[in-house]
Symmetry: C2
Subunit: 253 residues, 2 copies
DNA sequence: TAGTGGTCTAGACCACTGA
DNA sequence: CAGTGGTCTAGACCACTAG
């Protein structure tokens, strides 16, 4: 009924809904405004809640909406540009750095990390946890893997763990010669602990930035940083020297 | 049955399923192998198909699975590393470039693009479409927006559109002095046309790489490249001079 | 044509938030 | 406590692919 006789290509309902809602968001809503609840919206559009939710999921993925259990659905602000300096060759923890050390443990890393570090699969390494805050919001959580061989002089540091220990590891790193670094970005889903730190549910989409730090041919450290994909735009402030910025680069139908 | 009495924190079923399947994929399956169909899997795990699908969606997002309608679900190969040269300062279309011109049109760009280019909202620009193939698979689709002012000598080129025209625009660009460029990466969802080109469904998760090209203080061109998020890992081949690479950097539970 | 994944429905209950 | 989004079910039908 009322298949408006157009769209002979049979566009899925949720996709059409997404488009309609996108336009509504652009024209009739302001940032921070809260939308009617899901049951209400579903009724208004004459679809099942599951279908409505499929559309909302899309919009949340695109950073247009923010949903919080027990609260409601609000119109999200444009994504924040978060600088991921590719140009800048420096050890983590150098100078400013935008990251906050949280704690430090010693444990065996995941297999993929062990391989990248070229340590044995079961060899324990330092695992420094850091978090990054931007505009008052937590935007990223990082695990920094540092083999013992990279920080040999760390023995006998007072703090056995905690933020103090994390800082000590980072401090030791600075004394190494940094031969180069290497970055990759991919999509992932938040593990339970990252999700908690980022104030999201497990499985939330994240941008995973993997950085390898080299010194004299070997990998001296490896950082796995997990950014909220819904609220962040990773920027690589390059050469231009220009600043500015337009709005979000969302996809128009 | 076997709620193993642990997980007092009430882990959602789909999340637990995801974990179980991840482990199964790691140990019992090989790349390209096809999984039992969804109804079968759901029955086997004793959940509704919707729940099973939620887990599969996660795994597809993480690049572990590939699902194709009418065919089945297969184990995906590790993500391909796709180089997104940040170091390299060059106009699109220079030298090798990895991109294939598809066609070219003249039309008014989306508002956000017009703002970035600092052209009027309704001013038509050249829109060059290109596609990028890696390992025999289409991995990205690009829209390159070039204001007329950046390619003034283009008047009277033979081809009014098509790949030839696209190449002509790119050729003209090379003659400008490139003052710098600027990149950002964010998560998006594939528009219908991009989805088609990438052999995905509309709404599929993509990594959107926005590049601005500067010349003498103004933005001479703007590229919006859409990469398949499920199959690609964007790499920024930096300074290190190193090559290699470990497996995928997926999240372990 | 048979079998796959994709869409959709109409319910139910749960976990969380804030007044 | 009432109201929100999150999870889950058990169906149905559709669109696509391949033999």
């Amino acid at each position: 009924m009322g298949t408006t006789q157009l769209e002979s290509v049979a566009e899925p309902k949720y996709w059409h809904l997404r488009t309609v809602l996108t336009e509504a968001l652009d024209s009739e809503f302001t940032v921070g405004e809260i939308l009617p609840n899901e049951r209400e919206l579903a009724a208004r559009f004459g679809v099942a809640r599951a279908t409505l939710r499929q559309a909302l999921e899309q919009l949340e993925l695109e950073g247009r909406l923010q949903r919080r259990r027990g609260v409601g659905t609000t119109v999200a602000p444009p994504r924040v540009g978060v600088d991921v300096g590719v140009e800048r060759q420096a050890w983590p923890g150098a100078g400013d750095d935008a990251w906050q050390p949280v704690d430090c443990a010693v444990a065996a890393p995941p297999a993929a990390v062990a391989d990248a570090l070229d340590t044995g699969r079961d060899t324990p390494v330092h695992i420094v946890r850091r978090s990054r805050v931007s505009h008052g919001q937590p935007v990223a959580a990082e695990l920094l893997y540092v083999p013992h061989s990279s920080v040999p002089d760390l023995t006998g540091i007072d703090a056995p763990s905690g933020a103090a220990r994390a800082r000590a590891v980072l401090r030791e790193l600075q004394s190494l010669a940094l031969a180069g670094q290497d970055r990759a970005v991919e999509l992932g889903s938040a593990r339970a602990d990252d999700a908690k730190e980022l104030d999201r549910l497990p499985g939330a989409p994240v941008l995973v930035v993997t950085t390898r730090f080299f010194t004299g041919g070997r990998t001296a450290a490896l950082s796995v940083a997990t950014y909220r994909a819904d609220t962040c735009r990773l920027t690589f402030g390059a050469s231009g020297g220009v600043e500015i910025h337009p709005g979000p680069q969302h996809q128009a139908s």
